[in-house]
Amino acid sequence: MDLSYSGEELAFRDEVRGWLAANLPADLRDKVGDHEHLSKEDLLRWHRILAKQGWVAPAWPKEWGGTGWNVVQRYIFEEECGYAGTPPLVPFGLAMCAPVLHKFGTEAQKKRHLPPIYNGDLFWCQGYSEPGSGSDLASLKTKAVRDGDHYVVNGQKIWTTLGHYADWIFCLVRTDSTAAIRQEGISFLLIDMKTPGITVRPLILMDGGHEVNEVFFENVRVPVENLVHEEGKGWTVAKYLLGHERMNTGRVGISKRELTKLKAFAARQNKDGKSLMDDPRFRDKVSRVEVELMALEITNLRFLDQMRRTGQPPGADVSMLKIKGTEIQQSLTELMMYAVGPQAQPFKPLQADDGFDAFAASLAPRYCNTRKTTIYAGSNEIQRNIISKMSLGL
């Protein structure tokens, strides 16, 4: 047994690390580090820097811009980005719509949509969830009725992340409400957000931020050429995407960065005239998260090694990584909030105040926001259901 990376893998890591150090703009790195709001322009700026380098879509087939890296290299790359503190790559186009098009898209669809996704020219969002269909996605009701060369779409999506930035949305819609098996009445449609009849309304989360939306469709006419795969095969497409879930679901790199930050930050906090990191009660909590994170990283690598050798998609293992990864992210934001004590309570100054500690004030909202991680992308309860069904046969 040998848990370390090979010489080539280490060389690859150093190459990535060196490149990131030279090419991640300091202002973006600081914004990420200080938990500041990232604008659409910030996100796209980083996207385009990577696109120019040819690294924005490592997993894509080479002819469309993929790097040809193996799973381990891809993992190393993503973890290094997380650790360096790059802005996130918004997954909806690059890691969700594109893999679907690679697998099921027509040549025309690929030609039309993949280059603007790669170059960051068009912004995508994901339209799956509906008010009545969250965990039980297959119950979705948004209807698409065929009318000549078009589908006419009516209904509502909810929780659409960055829908207010998006040029396009990929949606699961119901094309047949009589299908005996409800999954078989679902289709996968690409919809231009500028089509008449679409309304986007913000949903404000409890940290005061606007990241999700409600999207309403009223007689929205979508050309049939925007159907992906066959009519009624949308569930197959969605399931393929789930199986395709990336191996960095555990977000080890980001959590390592946050852990480093937490330790440095807590060391500077004063408790009874001593550093907070000298307080055994606090220190123990930090150590426990660190150990959890270490275990997760090794588990992640173990799954990766398995996947590389068997060539099998990860299956229920990804659920495990999601559960542990999100729990760790939540613990880290919680400890960061505890580290400032009562200073976590101030939120917004009532008058302009240069001395207002915006970083301390970002910690409680961030703790609040991170609660979402155990809810979205398949809640942790649903992930446990998947493991108990798929792995344990319960």
Binding site: G134, V212, D279, Q345, G355, N385
Partner: protein, 377 residues
């Protein structure tokens, strides 16, 4: 043994509950929180209902109530997420009621009871608790009076306060060097950097620069502030525990209702055993927290041994902080995406519970105090 409220306490509980249900619903509360952070009308009603003077002696237009009488009030405030500075006012006035001169009592207490005066409880810049030893404010004796200098951070209710009770170091004599002062919030040299808190209260960092105080501003004797601070903060902590119990109860009720009505996979999500057990644990947390809040409110006034009182209050705060954390996190999780939104009251309750867990000392602080006071150790 009798854990019930007596008839008067129950009447009071019923009337405040009616008031909150009827006149302080979530929409009203949202408006109050976003506008002034306080409503004069609501404050007037609290005064009319006798809540502001509840813990003062009848000699000063109070009702002679103790923490147990305030418990039901605080539970309702917690359930309703009342943003008005009730707890800061009632507890700051305790300094005057317990240690003030006859003249101070006459000047302050009836005015608080009638709703004319709001007090800001001074917080301290030290972490986790009102830790007396880290006092920053300094009071210097100058002729017949005092000069006050320093900064107090995160003083809840300060932006709305008329009077502040400020602790300050008046000598380097360790625990015996801290004194208490009554300071007009608008006095020359007092400055405030005000902000909204994450749980939608108003607070400020209050600066004191050469603030001139008369000899009559001193509350109690010079250098004897610490024992009063410890006693009043314990009293306030007991009340805060009761507030938490009310907020936890709201979170549980709202979550139970939600999982009974929200349907996925053709059934209410409450039909899934994975969620049933979680809900049950939330209820157990609430019962345990309520027991400890009862204990804290019943004993904080009657326990004569200060060490034992501190130990009991710490025990309560440890249990309540854990329950705040447990229930608030689970309530959001069981609500799914809806729990994350500004529009759901439960997300506001989540924020308040998160902050209550840390107010007047977080669980770690109280674990330390509890263990240090353990008689066996």
């Amino acid at each position: 043994m009798n854990f019930d409220y007596n008839e008067e306490q129950q009447l009071l509980a019923d009337s405040i509950k009616r008031f909150i249900d009827k006149d302080y619903d979530f929409e009203t509360r949202k408006y109050v929180a976003s506008a002034e952070g306080y409503s004069a009308e609501v404050w007037g009603t609290l005064a009319e209902m006798g809540l502001l003077g509840l813990p003062f002696s009848p000699d000063y237009e109070g009702f002679g109530g103790g923490a147990v009488d305030l418990m039901s009030v605080m539970e309702c405030m917690g359930a309703g997420l009342v943003v008005e500075p009730y707890l800061p006012t009632v507890t700051a006035a305790q300094f005057v009621a317990r240690a003030g001169s006859e003249a101070q009592k006459k000047a302050i207490l009836p005015a608080v009871a009638s709703g004319e005066l709001k007090d800001g409880l001074r917080a301290d810049r030290s972490r986790g608790a009102l830790r007396p030893r880290a006092r920053r404010g300094r009071g210097e004796e100058s002729g017949a009076g005092w000069t006050l200098d320093g900064v107090k951070q995160v003083v809840i209710g300060a932006p709305q306060a008329d009077q502040l009770v400020v602790s300050a170091r008046t000598s380097n004599d360790g625990d015996r060097g801290i004194s208490l002062f009554l300071v007009d919030a608008r006095a020359a040299g007092v400055s405030m950097k005000a902000y909204r808190t994450i749980d939608e209260l108003r607070a400020a960092d209050v600066g004191f620069k050469g603030v001139q105080l008369g000899a009559d501003a001193l509350i109690g004797k010079p250098g004897e502030g610490l024992a009063h601070i410890e006693a009043v903060v314990d009293f306030a902590t007991a009340l805060l525990c009761a507030e938490a119990v009310g907020a936890i109860k709201y979170a549980n009720d709202a979550t139970l209702e939600y999982i009974k009505t929200r349907k996925q996979f053709g059934v209410p999500i409450g039909a899934f055993q994975a969620l049933q057990h979680r809900m049950v644990d939330m209820v157990i947390s609430w019962e345990q927290a309520r027991s400890m809040a009862c204990m804290a409110c019943a004993r904080v006034d009657s326990e004569k041994d200060a060490g034992e009182r501190k130990r009991l209050i710490s025990a309560a705060k440890i249990r309540i902080a854990d329950a705040c954390r447990h229930v608030s996190q689970e309530a959001i999780q069981l609500h799914g995406g809806m729990g994350m939104t500004e529009e759901m009251k439960v997300s506001h309750t989540f924020r308040r519970l998160t902050m209550i867990a840390q107010q007047f000392g977080d669980a770690d602080h109280h674990l330390e105090r509890f263990a240090a006071l353990d008689k066996v150790a």
